[in-house]
Symmetry: C2
Subunit: 299 residues, 2 copies
């Protein structure tokens, strides 16, 4: 089974205590795709400007991603500039240039409209809805968002939440949307908004999964090598959705396994700038680290 992801393809400028990288390939859809591709075919729905470096498009194609629905539009590509300080836990956005993203209306090929596993990565909820409404037979729909939309497009977001199966949020977003500090209370509240599954990413503190049938809590892979956390959440979601699409089964076992793969994929992402780590990641390396992780968390 394939996965289709809607999101951004961006040029990121990232400052961390370990250095600065200018206009490197990034964006929610790209980070998602880079881990999802380890499990399944990935179609990318996004927009870029004419200024987008040809080498990056070539790179995405070489990684096996399907770019049929990647629109190249007259104008500037989406650019994000952010900085991580001391603890590398929170990104401070220094600058955002929306460019062609401002007028983005996803267009999807007929073939791709049949894809059943859909991930709506972080973009304007109206754009997310626009895509979802065009899909023929959604089987599993995941949704990510961010504080900006929670604050500025709350109604659109709430409408959309009724139509998705999994809401993926980080702890700050879960708290902002639910107005609950306690994450179990937050998850219960978010569940009441529609999605049958809630996945709260807590960065260095791991992840909490909530559904009516069970709760699953997992720490992060402990590492002292944190270089650039940009895209860690999308990398998590990519492996999570990719694995579920591959096995095409939603049950306690497959969900826990998907969360494990997400955790491990994210742990690679943060170890270097941008896609440096995940672009060269193999399923074999993922499995190897997963086995080490087992010893760290199992008893």
């Amino acid at each position: 089974m394939s996965v289709i992801v809607l999101g951004t393809v961006a040029l990121d400028t990232v400052k961390t205590p370990f250095g600065t990288r200018k206009h490197i390939l990034g964006g929610s859809a790209v980070h998602f795709a880079m881990s999802a591709r380890l499990f399944t075919k990935v179609s990318l729905v996004a927009i870029i400007g004419r200024d987008f470096p040809a080498k990056y498009i070539k790179f995405l194609r070489k990684k096996g991603l399907i770019l049929t629905s990647l629109i190249i539009e007259k104008g500037k590509s989406f650019k994000w500039e952010g900085e991580y300080r001391g603890d590398l836990n929170t990104a401070f956005t220094l600058n955002t240039e929306f460019g062609v993203l401002s007028a983005f209306k996803p267009r999807v090929s007929e073939e791709e409209k049949k894809i059943k596993h859909i991930f709506l990565a972080n973009v304007d909820p109206d754009i997310q809805r626009h895509l979802l409404e065009r899909m023929y037979s959604p089987h599993l729909v995941g949704l990510d968002s961010m504080n900006y939309w929670i604050n500025n497009k709350r109604r659109s977001l709430l409408g959309l939440l009724k139509k998705v199966d999994i809401y993926v949020a980080n702890d700050q977003e879960a708290r902002a949307l639910s107005q609950e500090h306690n994450l179990i209370k937050a998850a219960k509240y978010l569940r009441s908004l529609g999605p049958s599954m809630i996945l709260i990413k807590k960065g260095e503190h791991g992840v909490l999964f909530y559904c009516d049938k069970f709760i699953f809590s997992l720490p992060a892979y402990p590492t002292d090598k944190v270089i650039d956390p940009t895209g860690a959440g999308d990398t998590f979601a990519g492996a999570f959705m990719g694995y579920l699409a591959k096995v095409n089964k939603i049950n306690t076992t497959s969900l826990k396994k998907a969360i494990l793969y997400g955790t491990i994929a994210a742990s690679f992402n943060i170890e270097d700038f941008g896609l440096n780590k995940t672009a060269n990641l193999s399923l074999h390396s993922l499995e190897e680290r997963l086995n080490r992780f087992r010893n760290i968390v199992m008893f």
Copy 2:
């Protein structure tokens, strides 16, 4: 095997969003003992003033704690007043009255000097050293401290760390002492100060255990019932040390099991004010919740 704990026996005044309790029984040694007693005999080394309510002493005795080395001195008992706001993660100390604690020199009975499992709960590191030097055959020594001593008695604390086996710290303390934000780096640094085992408590985010042989990471028991976290760390340490004293074995299996018991004991402590939950806790209830926890974290 018995456990001996040095620490405070206090009168706590606690404000949380759920209410206020005035001069309730608390203190590091008491919270520790309340969970350690589920596994083993517990000797308490502490000091109280003449103002200490007789009903509390009676209560401690009724709980089976050995009070031979509980000194009752002319003067006021140690009092702590704290408040938890919104997230209930951090205690804001409103007032501390040291009273008789200021001049505390632990006195231990000959019989108790033979105890091999020793926990030095949070008091002045010079008092901790004073006790440790009097013990005849330490087999496993745990140490807790706090930011105040890290900042104001650093040299004493560093000297003491060379003489203990397990350093138990919360994440803030681990970061303050190591000057490392990343907790793996912090644990490695703390390991280099002497203790062969480092246990970092992360509150709602669980616990990280580090030793040369292995790392163990465990999330907290997910609960939406957090009323008063005072003493959660000591409750954790009590079950941890109590279990290790009971089995009298230090290996990967026993350490992981001890951390599990600590996690579960702490999850009860936070569900009500002071000792309300842990005073009535049975090993059976602890085991029951541990089994539920298994399903939440195992895959």
